[in-house]
Amino acid sequence: MESLGFGILAGCALMSAFAVVRSANLVHAVLWLGVTLVATAGLYAMLGASFLASVQVLLYVGGVVTLMIFGLMMTRRHGDSGPQIEDVRSAPAALAAIILFGATAWAVVSTDGLDAPVTPPPAVGPAALGRALVRDHVLAFETISMLLLVAIVGAIVIARRKDPGGAAAAAPASAASVAVPKAAE
């Protein structure tokens, strides 16, 4: 029963991954990504990482995918909805991917002793995970939070519109626009 569930989820994940990569329309690509993430979340649940599954769904699918959509909207030329993608290096890219997959697959298959313990060890619940996070890896935990903060501030600084008289959709938030000389072309 369990392996059936795994099969479905894996197939669904793989299929949607292909869709992300191959779909001509970017919006479809983003949505398919959402599907892949949900499928992986399912797998997490099956692997006993229920908390992670929920985080995955909540944060990844909710946050990242929506953010992607926004990004997509912002960087698309007005009104052209045609197939934007013309991939150019698909042949060598595919070759590299296949070779890499072949090598890793062969490695996984040929190393025996992967499934040595018959009885799976006790599952790690959210409490255990929380304790591990806060007690054993507190330093990493704090650094990650710092990193997130830096990333967000950086993103804002990078994407801030420099010239006050720019395109009409000037974000109301940037009222105090500093008179920064126009970036030299």
Partner: protein, 99 residues
């Protein structure tokens, strides 16, 4: 539902993401592919966490997710810049360094 199968799945996902990274021209599509590859990596973490025990797997997964989010944020900001500068978000445009 053995560890090997999980690893195989992760490898497949990773390679698909890699293909996307190499083939796609839009910067957003590339970001998506990177998401995919990161996700595959998380899967491996969780799988080993599950089959070998210990919280370490999941801890890594959490951190990895956090990292990926940060990366997407900055990525999109760069995409905005590229779009604003070149009017399109194809990645080949950013080749001023070569001249």
């Amino acid at each position: 539902m053995s560890l090997a199968s999980c690893l195989l799945l992760a490898a497949a996902l990773f390679c698909v993401g890699l293909y996307g990274l190499l083939a796609r021209r839009q910067i957003v599509a590339i970001l998506l592919s990177i998401e995919l590859m990161a996700n595959a990596a998380n899967l491996v973490f969780v799988a080993f966490g599950h089959y070998r025990g210990g919280a370490l797997g999941q801890v890594f997964a959490v951190f990895s997710i956090a990292l990926t989010v940060a990366e997407v944020a900055v990525g999109l900001a760069l995409a905005m810049l590229l779009y604003r500068r070149h009017g399109d978000s194809r990645v080949e445009l950013a080749s001023e360094m070569k001249r």
